[in-house]
Structure formats: structure tokens, C-alpha cells
Amino acid sequence: MNLALQKSELPAPRIGVIRRLWDHGDGSYRFFLVVASLLLIGLVMAIGYELWQNSALSRHAFGWKFLTTSDWDPAIENKFGALPFILGTLMTSILALIVAIPLSIGTAIFLAELAPDWLRQPLGFLVELLAAVPSVIYGLWGLFVFIPVFVRPAAQFLNREFGFLPLFAGPIFGPSRFAAGILLAIMVFPTIAAVSRDVLRAIPNSQREAALAMGATQWEMISQILLPYGGSGLLGAIILGLGRALGETIAVTMVIGNNLDLSISLLHPGYTMASVIANEFTEATSDLYLQALIEIGLILFAITLVINFIARLLIWRLARQTKGEAHL
């Protein structure tokens, strides 16, 4: 994965983009930019339209209930509800972020501020390498190494100590939402870490010197000056990670167990929106079944859009506080 590319895509203003391009571009270059950005907007709208059109049967049959029911019975009753998949996607993605954020921001701080010179390069390279490993490799590793070595013992521990909470209810399975969430954390960690490191490195040295010259300790300088200064960029890095977690398909499919479990236990196998589409698309024999799957795609698409929109608002508000100091 090309992080540099993603980084430059990240802060691209989506609102008022045409206006801005028109003001900044020049001649045929301007024309090209405007056409390219119009195409991009058109593409997003076309995808949304297709998903909307091709899920009409399912939308009419189940209405909003599709979001809140958990029947998934293509064989006999032909009833469909997306709740278990929505739940699976949200639970695994949130777990992934909870685990990955502190780890990756911590790594970014270490790489950007604390690591000795000789360690910076190799370690940074390693992180970027991890971000480039194909998901299916993570999936294989998860299935054959990670689940037996880490997930099972950890799940046993959680169940023993916190089993009274529905979140950690037994019985224990290897493949589970827990396994998927932690594997996702491992997968999004290098992405968030690498982008966050770049965000921190882009902060002018004068800010560090200003804080240290006031008698701030290094930790005070990092936590009170650098992190707020890089706030919008760090948030962007996290959203990038979240985007990857929400949409990740193959690795999750390999370790989540693909089971319509109705409990909210992390330790049970589950299913996500992306993995049910990938798994069942080829065997969707009836039109309604197929369209129900497409509607799940529509929901995933909508969730992604909403999250990106909220993130954009947050980033915009943060960036306004550091007025004129956009560093990305």
C-alpha cells in the first residue's frame, strides 16, 4: 500500500473542491483537474446509485426492519435481516481501534521523537512494510499462528475473569469477533503509526524549541504541544485505519468464524458485513437473497460515508484552531 499516496489523499478537501481547483488551477491544467474531480464525485454517486437500485427488492420487502432484525434464512422462509453483520462489523472495528490507537500513536511518538537516529530508519521501514503486507497473509497467519498461540489463551483468561459480562460470555471458540478485532488492530496499526509519524515529523521544530525553552519536559512538550498541534492529522490517520478495519474482508473472513451468532459476546464467532457479502455472493440463488446482500453493501457504504463526513468536520474544526498552520 502506498502510504504517501494515501496521506496526500487524506486531507484533500471534499467540500468546495471544485471552487478551489478553479481558483488555483490554470488553463488546461485547471480543466483537467476539474474534470478529474467531477469524475471522482460522479463515481461515488454512481456507486451509491447502483447499490440503491439493486437492493430495491430487499428494501421494499423488509424496510427499516432490515437494520434491526437478525433472521438470515435464504433457504426456507426467505427472510433477511442485517443486524448480526452490522454488529459484527462495528464490534470488530471498534475493538481494533481501541487496541490500535494507543499502540500506533505510541509507536509514532517513539519513531518521530524518541528513537535514536540509528533505529529510526529501520524501524520506520519495518512499519511501512507491515502496512504493505496483503490481507490474505494476515488471515493465514491469524488462522494458523495467532488464534492457537494468542487468541485462545487470551479468550480463556477473559472468560475466566470477566465471564459474568455478556461481552465475555462463553463458550470459547478460536475463531471469533475477538480474534477478528485483534487481527484488525494488528493490520491497521502500521497504517495509523506510519501516517501519524509523518504528521508528527511535519510539525516545525520551532514548536518543540518553544515548549522546551519554557521549561517543559519532553513528555510535556509531546503531550501538550505536539499532539494538539498534529490533532487533525492524527485524527485523519485514525480514520484511515478505521476505514481499513470497516472494509477489511478476507482476513476477517478467515478468523471470525462466519457464524450468525446472536449474542454480543466478543468471544463467540460472528460475521461482518464485508465477509458475508464475500462469502455468500456466489451462492445467492434467489433475487431477494442477492439484493439483501447488496443492501448490506449499501449500509456499509453509507456507514463509511457518514464516518468520513464526521471525521472531515472534526478535522476541519481542529484545523481551524491551528489557523493557517495546515501541515498536511
Binding site: E209, A210, A213, M214, G215, A216, E220, Q321, T322, K323
Partner: protein, 278 residues
Amino acid sequence: MLMTSQVSFLINKKHEKNDEKTLKMKIENLSVYYRNFRAIEMVNLPIYAQSITAIIGPSGCGKSTLLRALNRMNDLVPGARTEGQVFLDGMPIYVPNVDVVEIRRRIGMVFQRPNPFPKSIYDNVAYGPRLLGIHSRAKLDEIVERSLLAAALWDEVNDKLDQSGLSLSGGQQQRLCIARAIAIQPEVILMDEPASALDPIATLKIEELMGALKKAYTIVIVTHNMQQAARVSDYTAMMMLSDQAERSGTVIEFGETEQIFLNPKDKRTEDYVTGRFG
């Protein structure tokens, strides 16, 4: 020989110096290396309390390096190494167990380019006091007002303290940085070409400010501007590359500003202050 403008400044200047000079800092045989390169060599210099000491000299002779050695900012440069000693009130600061954070609290710094934090004007000034554990709103209000008044910025910003420090003009930002530095009442303030990024009017404001601040603080200023050194300082240290082959800088002459400008002992100083340095 001397530029007439400089002379008139010196003659008009009223010195309010104490007769008996108290030594605030003392630089002893100080050399600073960037890896193998010796940037300054064997500098000896006294810094007198409640006065302004100007460091002048051609570009690259190590003025900033010397200034940054005084609050151990060079520690942040990878590969930088310091030999010799700097004393603050008689206590050496280049010793293993010294608390660098404490040193930097006692010796504030204002940089060449204004570098306010992307926080409100209020939070910029309150940053230092908060580091010291002051969180009472009333106390902070008082410190912010006092510091901004002392930095001659209060009248311009008192109705918009919650606006970003970056929304100010360059000259105002630099005074904000001065307010931020004096909010924790350091004993010494180091300024590295604090007015070089500013227009003449803003520069004049900063110079007036320094004159006012020296009643309470000891100030060391690096400047490229001869008139500025002549106008504001009580003492002047002239730096020059000591050895053209090695390119290490050192202080070649130190004295009261009048003496350095009117009656320099070193030929190189005379050439430099009269603008004949080539």
C-alpha cells in the same frame, strides 16, 4: 569614521547601569562542537545582571550557538557537544546532575521567528505558569494580564484573548512570545535576532520593550543590526571567526557598548562596526 547615526544614539543614551556590576552569568572557556566541527572556541564572557548584552558579528561566526549554549538548547541538536563551563549565579550548568528543565525556566528564550503555539493568546501566555502547576483561574488571569502589559501587547489584545495567537501580526506575535517567556519570570532572557523578521515600527516597539524589561531582567540579544546593538545594549560582545582555516568563532572583544562602538581596541571590531568588514 563612525556612522554619525550611531554616534548620536550613543551620546543621547542615558545609562542607568549600576555602578557595581553584578555578574549574572559567566561563560568560561566554552567550546561547542557539531559532531567534528568546532563552531565556537574558548569563549570567555561575563553577563551582567539587569543589563542588556548584545552579541554581534558576521554571519556564521557562532552567535546563535553561543546564545543557545546559555540555556542548554544545543542539547537538542543531535551530535552537539559542549566543553568548558557556563555559570548561572555562580552555579555551573554543564554538570551531570543539573536539572536542565529548571535551568530553562530560569533562562527564557525568544526566537528569531515568532513561534506562538496554535492556541489562544491567553493559553500561550498561561503555558509556562501552568507547567509550574498554577491552575487557579484568578492567578492565571493576573499573570496573563501582567505579562501582556509588560510585553506592551495588552492594549492591542485584551478584548480578544481567546483568539488564536497565530491570528496576530508578526510583530504582535513576537511580543506575544516575549509575554510567554516572561510569564514565568525568568531571571535571564535570551533573544536571537528577535526583530529580524519584523518591520521597522514593530522593531522599534521590541527595542523599547527591551529597555523597559532590563530593569527586572538580564537580557542577552544577538543582532545583525549595528544600530540596534548601539541603541539598546549596555555591553557588546564582538564575535568573529578566530581561524579562517578552522572556521571556529570566538569572542574577540567585549566591553561597554560605547567603548566597542566609539573606541574599539581590536582592528577587526573597528572594521566591523564601521561597516568596513568585508
